[in-house]
């Protein structure tokens, strides 16, 4: 047992140290994990044989990643960008893999191996590139948009690739491995072994239909049922169960678990539980993928690198130059100009994390020999290590040249209006949402009551089930892009916590918060909320004014009284808040706040009364000149 803890501790420690450092140096988290693996593996030798076992386990992170990728792909949105996807993405994949396959065959490899290598190198690193775009604020440039289309296409293309690679298996490798592995290699847990071809086909179709239809019709009642129990961890368990269940089913019928998870993700893309599901799966995916990359790093053969460093470095540079060339041609074809052309060319010139996935998958399926695997892994990793350098090249050398003149960066159209996140779509949030939506602002609505979300959806409001107090949830809701957040939830403590967290993580985001009462509003203000409304304040004032009208007070007078009340309250609010803070923090014990509060009540009373009594009005407004003033005028006129 202690041994396991020790192992786990080493892995976690490496990640905890290496990832933040890598990010600090602009290398991104994927490289951070790889470095962590390198350090505990080949460099320090802290971990050894077991990395292989762990890697199999960690590959489940890839399944989860594909589930999430699927969930990002709303079929409608995909259809919308089909031209860009197929055009940019299709062309890139086709050209790159064709050229690399060709070269590999010339180098004397069999066509199966050459094609596998071509596919591996055709992929780029979604994780590094998208993150870098975001960090450098390039997302809205035409170049980045093109790159995004290509990456998306690649992510989707991984699915058929995973299906294709087993077909490329080399018989001589398979038998060699079978010999060494003995009986263990034969899988005992397949349902379809020994079935006739037609029945096998039928079983596969049936399971795909089951995943699609079941995902659509069965998952909702299930999630609703689970959500209504209000148990957070059970929801997480359900989400995990779903993904693992699908992976298991696919495994049983001999299909790729990743493919099944991807399908399920697409099916659930439109579900109201989408954000919540993502938020629950994301941490597992992140950790498992991280683990996966660590094991890749740990498994890298330094010996191979040192022995063949000339070869490996030249292959890496060759692959990158080739990829860049293809991208440059595509950028030309698609009429990308200026710095955008260079951005597309340089940003996607590396191989990516899916390359590792394909390599280990190909290895399992006996497509690649061991020495080739080590070499390919080194090339992929090295090209990823070089990527930040390419971005620096772009920023320092290329951008400046296009900044003036016809550079297109300044002309980028920012079509994102900056959306508003609304937490809580009860009676309060609904009104806020209506006003925003009616004025064409995009809102993302989160609520933890699934009945409420259903209700909203029935009346055509796009709401999501999700706990807005979870940072992960807010991230998936797009808090990084949002320019405003409205907190209208009806839980005091959570609201305060939410304000604290959001102000810490996203200090520029404006926060409009519903408060319950005076005390709550002070606490929210202390936590950093930008604008507060006490939920009952305005309605009570309105009711008071109506009471006055009902008692025969002139409606305009009632309106004025309302304003008088509001003015005094606003004038005093800062003083009261400071006093409350002193009281609350124990700076003073003399009930200063209480006294000031009484004073406020008195001030309001005075103001309201003075407004009623005509001529000696302290409160101003439409005060006529004194009685004798007309005569004074006449006197002046005569002088």
């Amino acid at each position: 047992m202690t041994g396991y803890f020790l192992q786990a501790f080493i892995y976690l420690l490496a990640a905890v140290v290496a990832v933040p450092v890598a990010k600090r140096f602009g290398l991104g988290s994927v490289l951070g994990y790889l470095i962590a693996g390198l350090i505990i593996g080949p460099v320090l030798g802290l971990v050894g044989e077991e990395t292989n076992a762990i890697q199999h386990f960690a590959e489940f992170g890839v399944v989860m990643m594909l589930f999430l990728v699927g969930m990002e792909l709303e079929p409608k949105a995909l259809w919308h960008m089909k031209l860009r996807l197929l055009g940019l993405g299709g062309l890139q994949l086709l050209l790159t893999s064709a050229v690399i396959t060709g070269i590999a065959m010339i180098a004397g490899l069999s066509w199966q191996v050459a094609l596998t290598i071509g596919l591996i190198f055709a992929l780029s690193s979604t994780a590094i590139v998208l993150q870098t775009f975001q960090e450098k604020g390039l997302q809205q440039t035409e170049g980045a948009k093109g790159a995004f289309s290509i990456l998306l296409f690649q992510d989707i293309a991984v699915i058929p690739m995973l299906a294709l690679i087993p077909l490329l298996a080399l018989p001589e490798l398979a038998s060699a491995i079978n010999e060494t592995a003995g009986q263990n290699a034969g899988h005992g847990d397949s349902l379809v072994e020994g079935l006739p071809g037609w029945l096998y086909g039928l079983v596969i179709i049936a399971s795909i239909v089951f995943v699609t239809v079941g995902g659509h019709y069965l998952s909702r009642p299930l999630f609703r049922f689970v959500a209504s129990s209000g148990l957070r961890e059970i929801f997480t368990a359900t989400a995990l169960m779903l993904v693992i269940g699908i992976a298991a089913l696919m495994g049983l019928v001999g299909l790729s678990p990743a493919l099944g998870a991807f399908l399920a993700g697409v099916v659930l893309a439109n579900s109201e539980f989408r954000h919540e599901l993502k938020a629950n799966i994301e941490p597992f995916k992140g950790l498992l993928l991280g683990l996966f990359f660590i094991t890749v790093g740990a498994g890298i053969h330094f010996a191979t690198l040192f022995e063949n460093w000339v070869l490996i470095i030249s292959i890496t540079l060759g692959v990158m130059v080739l990829k860049a060339l293809v991208l440059f041609v595509i950028a030309l074809l698609f009429d990308l100009k200026g710095s955008n052309r260079w951005l597309l060319t340089l940003s996607l010139a590396q191989a990516g994390e899916f390359g590792f996935v394909l390599i280990s998958f190909a290895a399992q399926n006996n497509v690649l020999a061991t020495d080739l695997i080590a070499l390919l892994q080194l090339v992929v990793a090295l090209s990823m290590f070089l990527t930040p350098g390419l971005f620096i090249l772009f920023e320092r050398v290329i951008m400046p040249r296009y900044m003036h003149g016809s550079g297109s960066r300044q002309h980028d159209t920012i079509d994102d209006k900056g959306s508003v996140i609304i937490a809580g779509i009860g009676r309060f949030g609904q009104i806020v949402n209506r006003l925003l939506v009616a004025n064409d602002f995009k809102t993302v609505i989160l609520d933890i009551r699934s009945e409420q979300v259903d209700l909203m959806r029935q009346i055509g409001t796009q709401a999501y089930f999700g706990d807005a107090s979870k940072p992960g949830m807010l991230d998936t809701a797009g808090i990084k892009q949002a320019s405003l957040m409205v907190i209208a939830i009806d839980d005091r403590e959570t609201a305060v916590e939410m304000v604290k967290y959001v102000k810490l993580a996203h200090p520029e985001l404006k926060l409009l918060v519903r408060a319950f009462d005076r005390g709550h509003s002070y606490r929210l203000r202390q936590a950093g909320a930008d604008y507060l409304i006490s939920e009952t304040y305005h309605s009570a004032l309105e009711m008071g004014a109506q009471a006055l009208r009902s008692m025969g007070v002139h409606p305009f007078q009632a309106e004025r009284q309302k304003h008088a009340y509001r003015d005094i309250e606003a004038q005093q609010s800062d003083v009261l808040y400071e006093a409350w803070k002193d009281d609350a923090s124990g700076v003073r014990f003399d009930n200063n706040y209480r006294e000031l509060f009484m004073e406020l009540q008195q001030l309001i009373d005075d103001a309201l009364k003075s407004d009623l009594h005509d001529n000696h009005s302290k409160r101003r407004g439409w005060t006529p000149p004194p009685k004798g003033y007309a005569e004074e005028q006449l006197k002046n006129q005569k002088d």
């Binding site: 002139h554 309106e559 003033y629």
Partner: protein
Amino acid sequence: MSTEASSPSRHILLLFAHPSQARSEVNSVLFNAAKKHTAVTAVDLYAEYPDFNISIEREQQRLLEHDVIIFQFPMYWYSTPALLKEWQDLVLEYGFAYGKGGDALKGKQFLCAVSAGGREEAYQTDGFNHFTLRQLLQPLEQMASITQLTFLAPFALFGSRTAKEEHRITLHSAVWTKLLDSLAQDTLDITKARQLENLTRYFDEQDLHK
């Protein structure tokens, strides 16, 4: 107070604008008198629209249903109180009150019932205020012209701040009722009513007590 026997044939719309009626000594008396008049629809604009959110629809409908339009207001900075200005800005739309197809108000009569703090002597070209009251109301006169309303002379009370102390309000209110009667029965000599400086004079010359 109407002494005429015949039932009124015309409808009068009285649009009253006074933001501080609790202090009013003149206008509230006139407005209450008008409320009792059967031919008058008396609208307290500040009561109906305390938040200035005037219903264009409702106000235009009212205009269509009446033959005589009266603005009643205290003179504030040589003009109307704010809400009455807002009313004009919102209600008198192109295509309704003026411009192409805008003759909803054509032929209706229009007048202002004004109270001014200043004395009549001050409202002279050589007086303290440099203009007569009717001159100062020229924006409204031109508004009437472009909306094809027949502009009658203002019905004005001067020195309004001391009218109560000087016991002038009762007489003024009596003349006001008489004016409303004549407007309702359409017995006013329009040519004359258009030319006067102040409509209160109309009845001075004829016998008020008749």
